[in-house]
């Protein structure tokens, strides 16, 4: 019998071709649904999340939210129908990926996930072998019923493990213990989830190189299919101007702000660089391919959904703070749940407030180069050195400084990719491209 973790061929729409700076609007190949509820807030997180009474108990707003989400799905689908024709018209591809992100989407009852997926199938079209990912927290009371989720159509679980170190998990404000991660992976396997990923954090205050090594070892021992390893990033969405009424982020709470200020002081660039190098070494040795700066996959387990982002493929998105892209325009919903619910629960429901931006050709080209270079397959040398390439003027410098290296692609054509040093210092190059 076929190993369920072993996937079929990658969807050609997602894996063939370069990242496209092409400005023509195109129908989406992927759909993101944002579920903004968590049992509790983690101080480092700046995703759009509401917690506490809104997430659980009699005053929970999940029911109202699901209604609104369905309303938005309907309105977005109407717009796509009008623009490109219906899902079965032949001019619109069935979705190759659906992604439930959050927040903690595993707080949703499996029946609601099933109903959402059935609506998605009807209104957007869902490929038979589509990747359907759901983010889950490992805690007992928040990871959901993997078997039921699999039954609802989820075939990939992304677990917010963050660390396998008890003390660090507490420092990070996580509710779960390392043993919960193992339990969650086990339940996912038993429940028939075909692909399991864990998120891990390094550059966490108080995390030694040895502690990070132990976390990598323990995570690998779980036999997961995919690992995302992120440097703890403590940006300031308020300072970036993202938290206004139409912004895609929520204002940072005072407690979180204090936590971050203290954590930033403890972060150490040298330790973080060593931790990244260690991840490259350990995960590579364990047979995972570092296909993106922060992502490693066993064979066939690359995140198709995320590849759509890095290839600049059009994607639809619903839920507060969610971002969509049609190949020409990036659009987002405002982060605030009240405004979201108010717009979509009216009669008739209207699209929620938000914003958008369209890139000029140069901006799109820079974005394509940056996203392309985040991937291990990099960019074709011919394109990277072409007259319109934003990379061309910086190639000699980047090669000379050891940030980029040339290699032969699968088809034998010469390509360029970031070295490990280059990944660590990639912003030095990317900042020259924007």
């Amino acid at each position: 019998m076929e190993d369920p973790r072993r996937r079929q061929r990658e969807d050609p729409r997602l894996t063939v071709g370069e990242a496209r700076p092409d400005p023509d609007p195109r129908p989406p190949v992927a759909l993101y649904l944002h579920v903004p509820f968590c049992v509790s807030l983690c101080p480092y997180c700046d995703f759009v999340v509401v917690a506490g009474a809104a997430a659980r108990g009699p005053a929970a707003r999940i029911g109202a939210f699901l209604e609104a989400l369905r309303a938005e799905l309907g309105l977005r689908a109407d717009a796509l129908d009008a623009r490109f024709g219906g899902p079965s018209s032949g001019s619109r591809p069935a979705l190759a990926s659906v992604y439930f992100g959050g927040g903690t989407p595993s707080l949703l009852p499996a029946g609601d996930v099933a109903r959402l997926l059935s609506m998605v199938g009807a209104r957007f079209g869902l490929a038979r072998d589509a990747e359907v990912t759901l983010e889950a927290n490992p805690g007992v009371d928040e990871r959901g019923d993997a078997g039921a989720l699999a039954g609802a159509g989820v075939n990939r679980l992304s677990l917010g493990a963050q660390s396998m170190d008890e003390a660090l998990l507490r420092r990070l404000g996580r509710r779960h213990a390392p043993a919960d991660v193992a339990a969650a992976v086990g339940e996912a396997r038993a429940g028939g989830i075909g692909s399991v990923s864990v998120d891990l954090l390094y550059d966490v205050p108080g995390q030694s190189l040895e502690a990070w090594d132990a976390t990598l070892r323990d995570a690998l021992a779980l036999g997961v299919d995919h690992v995302s390893a992120y440097a703890l990033t403590l940006d300031d969405p308020d300072a970036e101007g993202l938290t206004g009424p139409l912004g895609d982020h929520l204002p940072t709470r005072a407690g979180a702000r204090r936590w971050r200020a203290a954590a930033v002081r403890e972060q150490d660039e040298d330790v973080a660089a060593a931790q990244y190098r260690l991840a490259v070494k350990r995960l590579g040795a364990a047979g995972y391919r570092g296909y993106e700066i922060s992502n490693w996959a066993g064979p066939g387990h690359e995140s198709r959904h995320n590849l759509a982002y890095w290839r600049r493929l059009p994607h639809e998105a619903v839920g507060p703070g969610a971002h969509a892209f049609d190949g020409a325009v990036r659009r987002w919903n405002a982060a605030r749940l009240d405004g979201y619910l108010a717009a979509l629960s009216g009669s008739p429901p209207v699209l929620p407030p938000g914003g958008s931006e369209s890139l000029d050709a140069a901006g799109a080209a820079a974005e394509a180069a940056i996203l392309g270079l985040r991937l291990d397959r990099g960019l074709a040398l011919a394109e990277a050195s072409g007259p319109d390439s934003p990379l061309a003027p910086h190639l000699d410098w980047a090669l000379g400084a050891g940030l980029l290296e040339a290699f032969d692609g699968p088809d034998g054509g010469p390509r360029l990719r970031l070295t490990t040093d280059g990944r660590l210092l990639s912003n030095e190059l990317f900042a020259r491209l924007v």
């Binding site: 993101y32 992120y230 440097a231 703890l232 990033t233 940006d235 970036e240 993202l242 895609d248 660039e269 040298d270 973080a272 660089a273 990244y276 700066i293 922060s294 995320n306 982002y309 890095w310 994607h315 998105a317 703070g321 969610a322 971002h323 969509a324 892209f325 990036r330 987002w332 931006e357 901006g363 820079a366 974005e367 940056i370 996203l371 985040r374 400084a401 990944r423 660590l424 210092l425 990639s426 912003n427 030095e428 990317f430 900042a431 020259r432 491209l433 924007v434």
Partner: protein, 603 residues
């Protein structure tokens, strides 16, 4: 209303900062109905915002009060306000020269301060009648007996002459007015003599040109006269003549003894500087007033716009400000680290601070100042002519220098005696020499030091205030040039000198200073993609070295659908940041690093 000369009184108020000069001025204005109480905006004479904030008077102002005395006659009292800071002692002396009397205001709680002494000495030198006023007697901490004792022993002021007052509450103010009438002699100059009028202040008016504030010593000035400024040689048909009430009120004529203004139409304050003598072209005076000095800069620094494109705005602002304050100088200069800016000369450190703040506030500029410097005289090898340098970056090579001379000052410090040890240490650590000390009262002393001016302008005043909890006060005067064992300390980043950070230091302190600078810089310069040595050197001799490690990580960990726009903006910001950086060789240094290190020097 024309008041006969024998009923004119010209007087100043001399006081230490915060001893209540401005409050007393306000009461005098109120009591003489020059300004009604409800119109008082509080402290009318300090019309610049900055003065109100700093609680000091920067530029002299004058006002004419009409006072009906107890004898039933109306007197014209001209109050000439004086700047209250040590940097402006020349301006103070010219203001005092325009008077016959001075009210000496001493805080009944604080007692005599260094500056009080300096100003009283100036007033006595000008032969002024002193009216001693003990102010703030309403304060619980007032000790009038102690301070009266002090006035008697230090300044030989008879205790029966002292008027007890509280300007805040109005107590004693009527007595002060009567004392002005009774004790200050009227002016004596003849209205028929050739005109001699002293310029004791000036300001620029866009319509009237330079407006000189004058005191007529002799002669008469009519509003159609053609005048000459005897020091600058400028001649002009005057546009307007008037008195200060305190707003400018035109009159037809001013006579010997009176105080007023002439609008000259001149476009440059330099042509009518403080201390100059106004006469008429038709019937010129034989001699100008003695003691005229052109404003002399003692402290020099580069002023640069934080944003390079603001350079033309800075130039315009300096030109405009200079119209009102001819006592600073400026000329263009450029620096690798700071770009295009101006080398400016100031009367002192406070003057520099005031000019910088006015530029920032009134012209909305964001400025960075290089470390302040004094004017060094450099004797070159080979019997060449002496070089005068006020910018460390312009120093000749070590091999060309035979010897260096630097300016010294005589410094007077008044302090409670418990701080004597601390101030001795502070001053001798800065190459100062202790001269003498005298007790003003059982608890307070006046200490005399000699000190290189360069040591004074770094942070001596702040240190003085810190070490004495604000109790000590100081004043200083130039004391000539002396040979010094000085060296130029260069800072090198990746083996390239950073001109804006070059310093002149005493040879013995070169290494300590070098270590402090390199350590600070290592913390302030962001890591580069390669290792960067940061050195301090005298010529080719390195005295301190730090190494900035290479950058290890600058990566966006997450870049998903919702991140792409945000991260691109972050990258754009990084790029803008890089573009704003100053390049020293191949090293990119944010302007903030220079700002931080230069501000540290100031602090």
């Amino acid at each position: 209303m024309q008041i006969p000369q024998n009923r004119l009184r010209n007087f100043s108020i001399v006081a230490h900062i915060d001893h209540g000069k401005t409050t007393l001025s306000d009461r005098l204005l109120e009591l003489t109905h020059t300004i009604e109480a409800r119109q008082m905006t509080s402290q009318v004479l300090d019309s610049m915002d900055l003065e109100k904030e700093k609680g000091i008077t920067i530029k002299a102002r004058a006002v004419r009060l009409e006072y009906t005395a107890d004898d039933g006659l109306v007197y014209g009292l001209n109050l000439i306000d004086t700047p209250g800071h040590v940097d402006f002692s020349y301006e103070v002396s010219r203001s005092l020269q325009a008077c016959e009397g001075a009210i000496l205001v001493v805080d009944a709680a604080q007692g005599i301060e260094a500056q009080t002494l300096a100003n009283v000495h100036l007033a006595l030198r000008e032969g002024l009648t002193i009216i001693p006023v003990l102010n703030k007697i309403d304060l619980p901490s007032a000790q009038p007996d102690v301070v009266i004792e002090e006035l008697e022993s230090v300044l030989a002021i008879p205790r029966e002459e002292v008027i007890l007052a509280s300007a805040k509450e109005g107590t004693g103010v009527p007595e002060i007015l009567e004392a002005i009438v009774a004790r200050v002699p009227p002016p004596r100059g003849s209205p028929d003599a050739p005109l001699r009028a002293l310029v004791f202040d000036s300001h620029y008016d866009p319509y009237k040109g330079v407006v000189c504030h004058i005191r007529l010593e002799e002669g008469t000035l009519n509003d159609h006269d053609v005048i000459r400024l005897m020091a600058s040689g400028a001649e002009t048909e005057l546009l307007e003549l008037g008195v200060f009430r305190p707003q400018l009120v035109p009159v037809k004529t001013l006579q010997a003894g009176e105080v007023g203004y002439v609008a000259t139409g001149l476009k440059n304050v330099r042509e009518a500087q403080v201390g100059d003598t106004v006469t008429t072209v038709a019937r010129p005076a034989a001699e100008p007033f003695p003691g005229y000095q052109a404003a002399k800069s003692l402290v020099f620094a580069g002023l640069y716009p934080v944003a390079g494109p603001d350079y033309p705005l800075l130039r315009d602002a300096l030109e405009k400000l200079h119209l009102n304050d001819a006592s600073f100088t400026f000329e263009p200069e450029s620096s690798v680290a700071l770009g295009f800016g101006f080398r400016c000369g100031f009367l002192g450190l406070l003057h520099m601070e005031i000019v910088q703040e006015r530029l920032e506030r009134e012209f909305d500029l964001d400025l960075i100042a290089s470390a302040p410097s004094v004017e060094y005289r450099i004797n070159l090898t080979g019997n060449r002519e002496q070089m005068v340098v006020d910018n460390p970056a312009r120093f000749p090579d070590v091999g060309e220098i035979d010897s260096i001379e630097e300016p010294w000052v005589n410094l007077g410090v008044v302090t409670p005696d418990r701080y004597i040890g601390s101030l001795m240490e502070l001053t001798t650590n800065r190459r100062g020499t202790f001269l003498t000390m005298e007790y003003l009262d059982p608890q307070r002393v006046l200490m005399h030091f000699e000190l290189p001016l360069a040591e004074l302008i770094v942070d001596y005043y702040d240190q003085l205030k810190t070490r004495t909890q604000g109790y000590a006060s100081m004043e200083y005067e130039e004391a000539g040039y002396r040979a010094a064992n000085l060296v130029k300390l260069d800072v090198l980043v990746n083996n390239e000198p950073v001109d804006a950070l070059s310093l002149i230091v005493h040879r013995d302190r070169a290494q300590t200073t070098g270590r402090a600078l390199t350590t600070q810089l290592r913390k302030l310069i962001p890591r580069q993609m390669f290792e960067v040595p940061i050195q301090a050197a005298i010529g080719s001799h390195v005295v301190a070295r730090e190494t900035l490690a290479a950058m290890r990580k600058n990566v966006l960990a997450k870049c998903y659908g919702g991140d792409i726009t945000r991260k691109r903006k972050l990258l754009e910001k990084q790029k803008e940041g890089k573009q704003r950086m100053k390049r020293v060789g191949s090293v990119e240094i944010p302007q903030e690093a220079f700002l931080a290190i230069l501000r540290m020097d100031e602090g």
